[in-house]
């Protein structure tokens, strides 16, 4: 079992995730989609690197 995560592979991820989401991808769309995935992954890494207290709840509220 690897001790570090495998590197993110946007091409293979996009193809697999598309199946899960029920999306039919034209092969010509893969490059721009994966470019966007890389930007999103970088944004997620930036946000995830910030230590939050466990008590920090998500912002949107629901009032019953």
């Amino acid at each position: 079992m690897p001790e570090t995560p495998l590197p993110f592979d946007p091409d293979s991820y996009a193809s697999v995730a598309a199946g899960l989401l029920g999306l039919a991808l034209d092969p010509a769309w893969i490059v721009p989609i994966t470019a966007n995935l890389r930007v999103l992954a970088a944004a997620a890494e930036l946000v995830s690197a910030f230590a939050l207290p466990d008590e920090a709840e998500a912002a949107p509220r629901f009032e019953a």
């Binding site: 996009a14 598309a18 930007v39 999103l40 944004a43 995830s48 910030f50 939050l52 709840e57 998500a58």
Partner: protein, 465 residues
């Protein structure tokens, strides 16, 4: 041409209310300019001449019978085409939505403006599904910046900014999820108000990112912003996030000046990553206001990243069925961003929403010692149309995703902002964000009005005809 055609809303309302002019004259003047000029600007997607003239005649008749005039009597206005207009499908800049049934009634804000006497003359161009900062649209054609037709209007409320700068109407409505009112206001050189999240009803508008969407007015004067804002205030059970706070109108204190207000400039993240002109515009406004203090919004870069993630994920969720059924009917640039957004793992989005809670508390603490914060609206002047990449601070970046770097960290926590236009030289304008604490639109408008009155900010009509 009618003398009213290039007037601001307050002037038109005063003329119509007093009987010096008629609503028909005001509306006909706007329709005439739209017919003569908009072919070059591309700001309107629908012109409602018959409806507008009928309402103008009805208003003139009512005023002739001595009925009271509203605060916006006879003022022609137009709305971004994601806001419902009875009888039209709400296209939201898309091809797909044209297949929707026509809206059964006008959106809430249209009804409130018309209740104050304003008259809707049409629907305005926008970036597809509001996922845009450029003002470009592959289905309806691009909106063009009236101050330099080869340049972008900014988006996604591109038509809302362009119609003002071209002098077609004095008042428009836009929406702002990440900067879509403030960016076109900056690029087109007009004023725009993004109110506090939840302040103005979004009922009867096509959504994009429910947890970030706002509607607001755009105009060529701050008084017009305030008049329209006041007319649209009030709770609305049809919008789940509309506040139940009582209306807090801005007009009563609009001319109060800046005495006693603590005003600071946003430093750190907001002082880098843009062209020098963007910061020069802020410096000019700060000098005029005597604002020498700098404050830092903590973790603003991370806030922008979190807003980016939430936008992509929520937007994709909204459109997933359409992405499955009609992917080729989207603007390719929008489709590819949305598909990538659909693939974001849920923990990333939830983390961004939790970070949002932390960031909100950290930024609100700043307002214990400051009333208004200044920041650039955009990192640059309006780029040329079609530009896909630009260089900011020495780094080559995609245009579409990065025009909103300075607006996203502000709307992320719903702060009220007035985008004010600054003309540094003979070139295109820049925008400065005048930011206040939640529910203090009155302060952002007061400061902006002071800047307008002292000649620091202005929204002239472009010389097109």
């Amino acid at each position: 041409m009618s003398a009213l055609a290039l007037s601001d809303a307050a002037t038109i309302a005063a003329a119509v209310s007093s009987g010096r002019s008629s609503a028909r004259e005001a509306v006909a003047g706007a329709l005439d300019r739209i017919a003569r000029i908009d072919g070059r600007v591309g700001s309107f997607t629908d012109v409602l001449a018959q409806r507008a003239l009928a309402r103008a005649d009805a208003l003139d008749g009512a005023l002739g019978r001595g009925e009271p005039a509203g605060s916006l009597a006879g003022v022609p206005f137009a709305v971004k085409n994601l806001i419902d207009i009875a009888g039209l499908p709400t296209r939201a800049g898309s091809k797909i939505n044209r297949d929707r049934p026509p809206a059964e009634r006008d959106g809430a804000l249209v009804r409130r403006l018309e209740a104050a006497g304003a008259i809707l003359v049409g629907a305005l161009n926008m970036g597809e599904y509001a996922y845009d900062f450029t003002g470009e649209n592959v289905h309806d054609g691009d909106a063009h910046n009236p101050h330099a037709l080869a340049h972008m209007t900014g988006g996604s409320s591109g038509g809302s900014g362009a119609a003002l700068a071209a002098g077609l109407v004095p008042l428009t409505l836009g929406s702002d999820t990440n900067g879509s009112i403030r960016v076109p206001a900056a690029f087109c050189g007009c004023f725009g108000l993004k109110p506090t999240y939840g302040r103005l009803s979004r009922a009867g508008s096509f959504p994009f990112v429910g947890s970030l969407d706002h509607l607001g007015p755009m105009a060529r004067s701050v008084t017009d912003l305030a008049l329209a804002y006041d007319a649209m205030l009030g709770p609305d059970p049809d919008d789940p996030v509309a506040t139940s706070r009582p209306p807090e109108p801005a007009m009563p204190n609009l001319e109060s000046g800046i005495g006693g207000l603590r005003i600071a400039v946003a430093g750190g993240y907001f002082a880098r990553g843009g062209d020098p002109e963007a910061f020069a515009a802020v410096a000019r406004v700060a000098d005029a206001l005597g604002a020498s203090r700098t404050v830092e919004l903590p973790e603003a870069g991370r806030a922008r990243a979190a807003a980016y993630l939430i936008t992509a994920a929520e937007g994709a969720t909204l459109h997933l069925d359409r992405l499955r059924a009609r992917p080729r009917d989207f603007d390719p640039a929008v489709r590819d961003r949305l598909i990538a957004g659909a693939m974001i793992p849920a923990p990333f989005v939830e983390r961004a929403q939790r970070f949002r809670r932390w960031y909100r508390a950290a930024v609100l603490a700043l307002f214990d010692t400051v009333d208004v914060i200044l920041a650039p609206a955009t990192p640059c002047r309006a780029p040329r149309g079609g530009l896909t990449h630009f260089i900011l601070d020495g780094v080559t970046l995609p245009v579409r995703a990065n025009i909103g770097v300075f607006t996203q960290p502000i709307s992320f926590i719903g702060l009220p902002v007035v985008a004010t236009p600054v003309w540094l030289d003979a070139g295109l304008p820049l925008g400065v964000q005048v930011i206040a604490a939640p529910w203090r639109e009155d302060l952002a408008l007061r400061v902006s009005r002071h800047l307008e009155r002292t000649g620091v900010c202005a929204a002239p009509v472009a010389e097109l005809a």
